[in-house]
Symmetry: C2
Subunit: 163 residues, 2 copies
Amino acid sequence: MISERMEKMLLNDVNTLIKPADELAVIAANHSLDHALLLMTKNKYTLVPVIDKHSKLQGLISMALIIEAIMDIEDVYFDKLADITVEEVMEKDYPSVTDDYDLEHVIRLLVNNAFVSVIDKEGVLLGIITRQEILRGTNRILHNFETVYQVEEKEKVIEKRLV
Amino acid sequence: MISERMEKMLLNDVNTLIKPADELAVIAANHSLDHALLLMTKNKYTLVPVIDKHSKLQGLISMALIIEAIMDIEDVYFDKLADITVEEVMEKDYPSVTDDYDLEHVIRLLVNNAFVSVIDKEGVLLGIITRQEILRGTNRILHNFETVYQVEEKEKVIEKRLV
């Protein structure tokens, strides 16, 4: 359990950690890999959500997955890019939560994932929570927590009460 | 200033946050982009340090930089990959610290960078500090800080003393 104090300082009274879907680069599952590669390069994203025509999250696509799909042990066959769709190579095992997410769970997921996707009950992509937002909160806690709160070793507190 | 308590819990008594250079994928500055792309794809890295023949850090190379270098507005020219060296397109403006780094400074750098490189006085790459390690520490602080320490609002502490 994360204490209310810690959670409040991590979030800094912002309403949400979620970067909304309409501010993200997303890719349609039926697009080809050359389209995906261009979009990712232009936006300097290395990993982006993949959605279907109803905006439902289907998976994640990375530059590494795209290049891997056209590569064998020795060479890369770039002429294959136009013939493969995003849904054929996307990662389908990705972390996601609904918007009533538990912060503790999200932070645990972020240790091993660049972002966590947030979806509604129908699976529509609402946005993502990134490591960047949590690191901003870490910074706040490290700097401000002991300025705002009085912190003592529990043993010392007990000793004081006994005196 | 980060308090000693917070820093200790963030680091969890580990000696170092640094992932050593000999455990990393690194790329030689004079290698060609096709070599870099293969190495990055195989290792599933999207951003890696670039070193010279003396193991001195020269820059960072990303998949996005590689593809950008062979792309114009409409198309990607993959036959150019073998003719361009990593040092021609690498990012030279990157965050780095020496191994007597200030933790506060490193965490601030990690808000906007996937990792911070650690170098010695001669510029030799010693390793990197990643967001993952800091997020592990965040997790520890959020869960354990108020178990180990007694935390009170400063105002309440003053009130108590006045009673």
